[in-house]
Symmetry: none
Subunit: 198 residues, 2 copies
DNA sequence: TTACTTTTAGTACCTAGTCATAAAATCGGA
DNA sequence: TCCGATTTTATGACTAGGTACTAAAAGTAA
């Protein structure tokens, strides 16, 4: 059955959002209307043509790619970094990061921000978290901006680097953690458990 | 001065690699040759036309984005649960969960699996992680299946529930953590057959 | 000059559209 | 059921950024 205009336009938006590479012709076939109708729909919904959509997606990703490679894998945006000393990142808590019912941020996102910052601050080819002690000091809600501050504080006797990370919303401490990081270029060679290299 | 054919084609490749959004016309102007010459060059160098280049960039980034979205939600599948006692979940480590270079799983995914299992095992309206001590025992690689086992081990004097989570690949322990969970209804033991907190 | 490479020009055709106009089909209400 | 409005479809002219092909002009080396 052919849907109503409203319903078709709703589905059209959804379809294009899911697959921006779809042509008007394909959409026309999908909704059993003429190509002209699809074009009228796009006009009414202010959806740009295929090529413009593709260009937009490409431009975005190209801009992203220009960002430094190691920083790309960090959760949150690094705004300051002094290798092997300190680093700061910000992470905006959005709806997708919180429990639906309570709107409180899920712990692993705060952990991910802190952990990836601890990885980033270490100026080495390979950095992995060996151990961590973390404390969720207060709940973070959607809409809040979390500023994580990492500081390299020392080394364990086994040669691991210790990084302290404190995360704040405004002046308020919301998360704190101590990370023991394993790194590849340790001056002291220790018979650590099975490390994996490729 | 107009460069030799060889030199022009070398620069052409470089230019397009740096900016795939450049048209033949712009290139012709840049190298002071005709558009036809540029097209001949692309033909000889097997460089696709502008639209194909853009499409390629867009397709790549789109695939990445589709993979990145569920990354935020996937924290393992619960395969067994005994409320307020124990729970088991599995998590398949895929390419999107690992560091590209080393193919070692990023710590926050293992944490997320364990943490969300600790949340799930607590049979209450609200469960939040207050504190956690975790240990990454051995590195997990892409393709491996991580089985997390949570066990409620007791309570702190402040009334928090303590959950121990151990994660395995096969028989081998890869992650272990102790989670101190805050919960809303601490004394109440209602038979509320609630939904899973996502 | 001849022979060859390189460059330029021009044509027809393509896709996936744009914009504008007009006709046909469908729908809701009295 | 007819009327007017909305919605859909058709048509034509035009666009960018090409492909594919043919042909001629310009440059170069012997």
């Amino acid at each position: 059955m052919r849907k109503s205009k409203r319903e078709r336009q709703r589905l059209l938006q959804e379809t294009i959002r899911e697959n921006p590479f779809v042509t008007d012709e394909e959409l026309a076939e999908k909704f059993s209307v003429s190509v002209q109708t699809i074009r009228l729909d796009r006009l009414e919904l202010s959806i740009p043509e295929l090529r413009e959509r593709i260009k937009h997606v490409a431009r975005q990703s190209f801009a992203d790619k220009v960002r430094a490679l190691p920083l790309e894998e960090v959760i949150g945006d690094i705004i300051d970094i002094e290798p092997d000393a300190s680093a700061i990142s910000i992470f905006d808590v959005k709806e997708e990061h919180v429990f639906r019912r309570t709107r409180i941020a899920r712990g692993h996102h705060l952990f991910a921000q802190a952990n990836s910052l601890a990885v980033a601050v270490i100026h080495d080819e390979l950095a992995l978290t060996a151990k961590a002690t973390i404390r969720f000091v207060r709940q973070v809600k959607a809409g809040e901006r979390v500023v994580a501050k990492a500081k390299v504080t020392g080394k364990t006797k086994s040669g691991r680097t210790v990084v302290d990370v404190n995360s704040y919303v405004g002046q308020e401490l919301v998360f704190s953690g101590t990370f023991e990081m394993y790194r590849s270029n340790m001056e002291k060679k220790d018979g650590d458990s099975n490390e994996y290299r490729d």
